[in-house]
């Protein structure tokens, strides 16, 4: 009897093991609640008329249209494709094409394809499914194109570049990396930077990884990590630091920054020669890291990050003059975006009007804003009227 019971239990265990999902079903149930709490929204691109964005895995287009029963225009959102939560990842809209990645469950590898966005705007499930096999994008310039983990990183402002982690057992334990851009002519991806990460390293942000070493010949205590910056195709060790990158900032964000080759939490960032109280442009080289693997929309001025989107709003670098400090500091100060603090706006970098200068921009249901730097080192939100098509087109 005992043997029979054991056999039944073993069979149940085997049946459960056949599920190849990365999480258990109960874990998904718990996680869904968390994902609902952290509203997910990111900018994918635009086609000159519409702005495309992703909200909770689904693709929307935002456009200006006349208000019903009222003067002026309003921003409208239309869902154009409902994608799978599990295996499909939209990551860019460029030249009328929506680029997506999907994970083949049988091989565990990522594949890439594009979908032509029709004139009507709505992409049918059938068209999306057909594109998976009919519009495949190959990846060139890599010794091993087996991509097992995938993340999007907007390294350049006007060119979508994508960060792939290759051959890794998981996102948290990659061994190779590549930065890939879309080749407009061939609709293929070309690797522009790639290499091998140090053992036990972890990709934690735009071109930044941390690594722990268990090689006895490398004299790094157990509780220390190395921070590397990927530059020129090489992973350069730039700092060794204690413990982890978990520095508290606000209630829920934990970020760190690389400043002139050193790591520091962003709320304690400093200028190398800021004794006169002003940070010169390009003096700091920041990269904002998010321990949750979320890739933040970052506004750079030269090599300096001056603004970024966090879970609870827009942060802007505020310079602090303190005569008592040898190094003057900058800190992130939140820019009021919405009366509803729970609303995370869509944030992207773009041009305003005919000016060549690029701004950190925000969209909300009630209009478009730019984050305009102030002479004091802070920033304020400037609402752009949405009363005409012309005003919206300035962002496109």
């Amino acid at each position: 009897m005992k043997k029979r019971i054991l056999l039944i239990l073993l069979a149940i265990l085997l049946i459960a093991s056949c599920n190849d999902s990365s999480r258990g079903v109960l874990q998904w149930a718990y996680q869904f609640a968390e994902e609902e709490e952290n509203y997910n929204q990111s900018y994918l691109g635009n086609d000159g008329t519409n702005i495309y964005l992703e909200r909770d895995w689904d693709i929307y287009k935002a456009y200006s249209a006349p208000r019903e029963n009222a003067n002026g225009n309003e921003i409208r959102y239309e869902k154009i494709l409902e994608s799978s939560r599990d295996d499909e990842f939209p990551f860019a809209v460029q030249d009328g094409l929506l680029y997506m990645a999907y994970k083949d469950r049988t091989t565990g590898l990522f594949n890439f394809f594009y979908i032509e966005i029709p004139e009507s705007g709505e992409i049918t499930k059938e068209a999306a499914e057909a594109a998976k096999t009919g519009n495949k994008c190959t990846v060139s310039g890599l010794d091993n194109p087996n991509i097992t983990s995938f993340a999007v990183s907007r390294i350049a402002v006007d060119k979508i570049q994508t960060l792939f982690v290759l051959q890794g057992a998981s996102k948290l334990d990659p061994t190779n990396y590549a930065v890939i851009e879309i080749n407009d002519a061939s609709l293929e991806f070309t690797s522009v930077v790639s290499g091998t990460l140090p053992a036990n390293s972890q990709m934690i942000g735009d071109g930044v990884l941390k690594a722990t070493s268990d090689d006895p010949e490398i004299d790094i205590p157990d509780n220390m990590n190395d921070l590397y910056l990927i530059e020129g195709g090489k992973a350069l060790k730039i700092h060794t630091f204690h413990d982890s990158l978990d520095y508290p900032m606000g209630s829920d964000g934990q970020y760190a920054a690389i400043a002139s080759g050193e790591i520091c939490p962003i709320d304690r960032s400093y200028s190398e020669n800021g004794y006169n109280g002003r940070l010169r442009q390009g003096e700091l080289r920041f990269d904002v890291l998010d321990r949750e693997d979320n890739y933040l929309t970052i506004y750079k001025d030269g090599n300096s990050i001056v603004g970024y989107l966090s879970d609870n709003g827009i942060y802007w670098r505020e310079d602090i003059t303190d005569d008592s400090e040898v190094n003057n500091k900058s800190r992130p100060s939140i820019v009021s975006v919405s009366e509803d603090a729970d609303v995370v706006p869509l944030c992207f970098v773009g041009k305003h009007g005919t000016k060549s200068h690029e701004y950190l921009m925000i969209t909300q249901d009630n209009g478009f804003y730019i984050v305009r730097p102030q002479a004091t080192g802070t920033a304020r939100l400037e609402k752009i009227r949405t009363g005409s098509e012309y005003q919206l087109s300035q962002f496109l």
Binding site: L9, A16, S17, N19, S21, R23, G24, V25, L26
Partner: protein, 201 residues
Amino acid sequence: MKKFIAIILLVVAASMHIAAMPTYYDTGSQIFSISAGPTIPFFYYDPGSEFPLTFGFGAGDGQTHHTIGGFGSISYQVFLNEYFAIGGELGYHFDFVRSNDVYTSVPILVKMSYVPLQGAFEIPISLGIGLDYISISDYSSINLGITFEIGMRYFFTNEWGAGITAGFHFVPELYGFTGDAAKKNSMYATVPLMISVTYRH
């Protein structure tokens, strides 16, 4: 918890006394029940989570992220002797997580019941073990399912009765005990509170 254990012991002790009383059932007697009622999330356990053990309904940090749900079942049992019956139960449980996705569980169980007090008023104690098909969104798995129930029922006629049942519905979702498989292990338990209609023959 102590009170709960004390009540269980009391019921067991009472049932031993009651067992000496005249019985209604004998070998081959059959009993068929339909039950339905709300379920309360009891606990969710995920050893790898930031909050490994969570209790109750709600979407907070220490809560299961499940809502109050519902459970319904049908069962058929045949008595092996005067007190013990064995048979099967098919159930359906649902609740919602905060993303509004519906979580469902379909237990298909072998159900064993002990009925120490018999006649017009009965106290059945049941244990069910079998398979439990759980799903949410596009995800599903088949697992071990365990239920424990204790109830009270009153027979208005010789054959038809109705009653209430409180239970414990436990689903351990186990994938393995080492490596990545072990990271997917978790457990979810609910407390169903049901009313039931019973036919016996």
